[in-house]
C-alpha cells in the first residue's frame, strides 16, 4: 500500500509537471504591463474555439432583456475602464451593463465584459468599480480563459487515462486522480491572484488610489458578516480557500492586495463624487432590487456604507424605510413610517412614498393615518395601475 501511495505521488508529480507551469510564475512584481497587441486575433485551434464560444455568448448578452441600455451607463463604464487600463487597451473591449443584483463582473476571451448592477450598487467610488474592472481586464490580457481551458483539459485527460491504467492493472488510482483534480481548482485560484496583482498595477498607473482594491474586499467581507448576523448566523471569514473554491478567500485577497499596494505609489482621487452623480439615476432601481433579496443585514450594511460617503439623502432614506417595511415586524413598521417621513422631509418627491407609508401604517393597525396617506397617493396618482386595489383598501 505504501509502495502504491509513493508511486501514485510520483505519478501525480510527473503529470502535474506535464500540465504546465503555474500561472503565478509569470507575474513579475512592478509596474510594467504586459505587451499589448491591438486587434489581436486568436492564433491556435484552442484559442479560436474559445473565441467562437465567447462570440456566441456575447450575442446573447447583447440582446438580453436584462441589459441596461438607457442613458449612457455603458459609455460611463467604458470611461472608467479606460481611465483604469489606458485608452489603447480599453479600445478593444465591449461592455454590457446587466441588471443582476449580485456583486460581480466578468470578462470573456474575445473582449466582452459584463458588469452586474449589484457591483454598481456596492461600489462607493470610481476607484472601487475600476478595481474590479481592472481585475477582469487582467484575466483578459493574461488570456486566462484559454489557459484555464487548456489546463482543465490536460488535467481531465490525465485523470481519465490514469483511471484506465488503474482498471487494467487493478490498482487504486483515486488518490492520484484526486491530487490532479485539486490542481484544477488551485490553478484557478492562482489565476485570480495573478489577475488581482496585474489589476493593482493598472490601478497604480491610473491615478486611482492603490489601496482601493484591498478596500473592496474588506467592504464585501463586512457585508457578508452583516448578512450572516441579520440571519442569526455566525459571521465566518476564512483565510485559506477550500478544496473546491474557485477564488482565494476575500480575507486573503484583501491582505495580499494591501501588502502589494503599500509598495506602490499611493495614487490620487477615488472620484467618489463623480461616481455618485453617474449612478444617481439608477440608485433607486438598484436599491429596490436589493431590498427584495430578503437580506436585511446585508442591505442595511450597503445603505449605511453608501450613507457614510454621501449622507442620508432622500433615496437612501426611502430605501431604508422600504427595507424595514418589508421585514414587517411591528417595530419595523414603526421605524419604516419614521424613515418615510424623513425621506419626504429630505425632498423625496415620488407619490409612492404616500402609498407605502399608508400601507406600513395600515399593517401596523394605525388605520386612520394609513388611510390618510393612501388617499394622498390616490389624489396624486388617480390612474395608477394599483389605484383600484388601494381604493378598496381605503374603503375597508
Amino acid at each position: 500500500m505504501r509502495h502504491l501511495s509513493r508511486f501514485a505521488l510520483c505519478g501525480a508529480g510527473s503529470i502535474l509537471a506535464l500540465l504546465g507551469p503555474s500561472p503565478a510564475s509569470g507575474a513579475e512584481p512592478g509596474l510594467e504591463l504586459p505587451t499589448y497587441t491591438r486587434a489581436y486575433e486568436p492564433r491556435t485551434v484552442d484559442e479560436r474555439g474559445v473565441w467562437m464560444e465567447a462570440d456566441e455568448a456575447e450575442r446573447g448578452l447583447r440582446d438580453s432583456p436584462l441589459r441596461i441600455r438607457e442613458a449612457g451607463l455603458e459609455a460611463y463604464l467604458r470611461e472608467v475602464l479606460c481611465r483604469e487600463v489606458g485608452t489603447e487597451r480599453c479600445a478593444g473591449v465591449r461592455i454590457y451593463a446587466m441588471e443582476i443584483p449580485g456583486f460581480n463582473a466578468s470578462m470573456m476571451a474575445n473582449g466582452t465584459m459584463q458588469v452586474w448592477s449589484g457591483l454598481l450598487l456596492r461600489s462607493r467610488s470610481e476607484a472601487e468599480l475600476a478595481a474590479v474592472l481592472g481585475h477582469e481586464f487582467a484575466h483578459f490580457e493574461l488570456r486566462h480563459s484559454l489557459t484555464g481551458f487548456q489546463q482543465r483539459r490536460r488535467a481531465t485527460d490525465a485523470i481519465a487515462w490514469i483511471g484506465v491504467w488503474g482498471a487494467l492493472t487493478n490498482r487504486d488510482t483515486s488518490s492520484t486522480q484526486s491530487i490532479i483534480e485539486r490542481g484544477i481548482y488551485r490553478y484557478g485560484r492562482e489565476q485570480e491572484t495573478d489577475a488581482d496583482l496585474l489589476g493593482l498595477q493598472y490601478a497604480a498607473l491610473s491615478g486611482y488610489p492603490a489601496s482601493t482594491p484591498s478596500e473592496v474586499w474588506k467592504n464585501l467581507m463586512a457585508e457578508e458578516d452583516a448578512s450572516a448576523a441579520g440571519r442569526n448566523q455566525k459571521p465566518k471569514q476564512k483565510y485559506t480557500a477550500g478544496y473546491f473554491d474557485s477564488h482565494p478567500t476575500h480575507l486573503k485577497r484583501s491582505i495580499y492586495l494591501a501588502e502589494a499596494a503599500a509598495k506602490m505609489p499611493p495614487g490620487g482621487d477615488a472620484r467618489a463624487k463623480e461616481y455618485r452623480a453617474a449612478m444617481a439615476p439608477y440608485l433607486p432601481r438598484f436599491l429596490a432590487a436589493q431590498i427584495k433579496r430578503n437580506d436585511f443585514g446585508g442591505t442595511e450594511h450597503i445603505l449605511q456604507s453608501l450613507a457614510a460617503d454621501s449622507g442620508w439623502g432622500p433615496d437612501l432614506l426611502f430605501a431604508r424605510a422600504e427595507l424595514y417595511r418589508t421585514r414587517g415586524n411591528p417595530r419595523d413598521l414603526q421605524v419604516a413610517a419614521q424613515y418615510y417621513r424623513e425621506a419626504r422631509a429630505a425632498g423625496y418627491m415620488g407619490a409612492e412614498l404616500d402609498r407605502n407609508l399608508g400601507l406600513a401604517l395600515l399593517r401596523n393597525g394605525q388605520a386612520d393615518e394609513g388611510r390618510q396617506s393612501l388617499n394622498a397617493y390616490l389624489t396624486a396618482m388617480p390612474e395608477a395601475s394599483d389605484a383600484k386595489m388601494i381604493r378598496a383598501l381605503v374603503a375597508n
Partner: protein, 194 residues
C-alpha cells in the same frame, strides 16, 4: 441476461406511474395542492409530478416553460411560498398573519427573485377581486430570469383565508404563448372555490 433486462424494464415501467405527470380531465377537481382549493376545469390539463413545495401544485398544457398554472394552497404563517433551495444563504420571505392583501404580489416577486434568479420583475396592475367568496387581489406582472432571459408575463389571484395564503398564478412567455392560453386559465380561475 435478456430476460433479466426485460424484467427490469417491465419493473421500471410498472413503477413509473407513481412518479409521472398525470392527466387532469374536465370536471370537478377537489383538494388541489393538498388544500381546500377546488376547481372544475372545462378542458384537459396536465398535473406535473414535480413538487415545488408541500402545498404547491403545477398544471400545464404544453409544459411548464410554455404555460404554467401554479396553485399555492393554504400556505400557513411562517412558511415560504415554495420549498427553500438554500435556507442558509437564500432564505425566502415567509407568510405572516398580519400581511395586507397588497403584500401578496410583493411576496411573490421577492420569492421569484431569490429562488428563480429573476432579476427583472414588475407588478403591473392590481385590483380587488373575490376568490371562493373571499376578498382577494388580482394582479398582473412581467419578469425575466437570468438563465434563459425569456420575457414572461403572469396573471394571478390571491387571498388570505383563515390566516393562510391561497394563490393561483398563470405564467407564459410574453411572445405568443401568454395570449394563446390566458383565456383557458381565466375560465379555470372562474371555477376556483375554497
Amino acid at each position: 441476461m435478456t430476460r433479466l433486462l426485460i424484467g427490469l424494464s417491465m419493473g421500471l415501467a410498472a413503477m413509473s406511474p407513481a412518479a409521472a405527470n398525470s392527466l387532469v380531465s374536465a370536471g370537478p377537481r377537489p383538494n388541489i395542492a393538498g388544500s381546500s382549493f377546488s376547481a372544475a376545469p372545462v378542458d384537459e390539463w396536465n398535473r406535473l409530478s414535480r413538487k415545488d413545495g408541500k402545498n404547491v401544485e403545477i398544471w400545464t398544457r404544453d409544459g411548464d416553460q410554455l404555460n404554467k398554472v401554479t396553485f399555492f394552497g393554504g400556505i400557513p404563517s411562517g412558511k415560504p411560498l415554495v420549498r427553500e433551495i438554500d435556507k442558509k444563504r437564500q432564505p425566502l420571505p415567509k407568510v405572516a398573519a398580519d400581511m395586507l392583501i397588497t403584500d401578496i404580489p410583493v411576496m411573490l416577486e421577492s420569492t421569484y427573485r431569490i429562488q428563480y434568479a429573476v432579476s427583472q420583475m414588475d407588478i403591473d396592475s392590481q385590483e380587488p377581486a373575490t376568490l371562493g367568496g373571499h376578498k382577494a387581489i388580482r394582479f398582473t406582472y412581467r419578469f425575466a430570469r437570468e438563465d434563459d432571459g425569456v420575457r414572461r408575463k403572469g396573471e394571478a389571484i390571491g387571498a388570505f383565508v383563515g390566516g393562510k395564503l391561497y394563490l393561483v398564478t398563470y405564467e407564459a412567455p410574453a411572445l405568443y404563448f401568454f395570449d394563446k392560453d390566458v383565456e383557458k386559465y381565466r375560465k379555470l380561475a372562474a371555477t376556483l372555490a375554497l
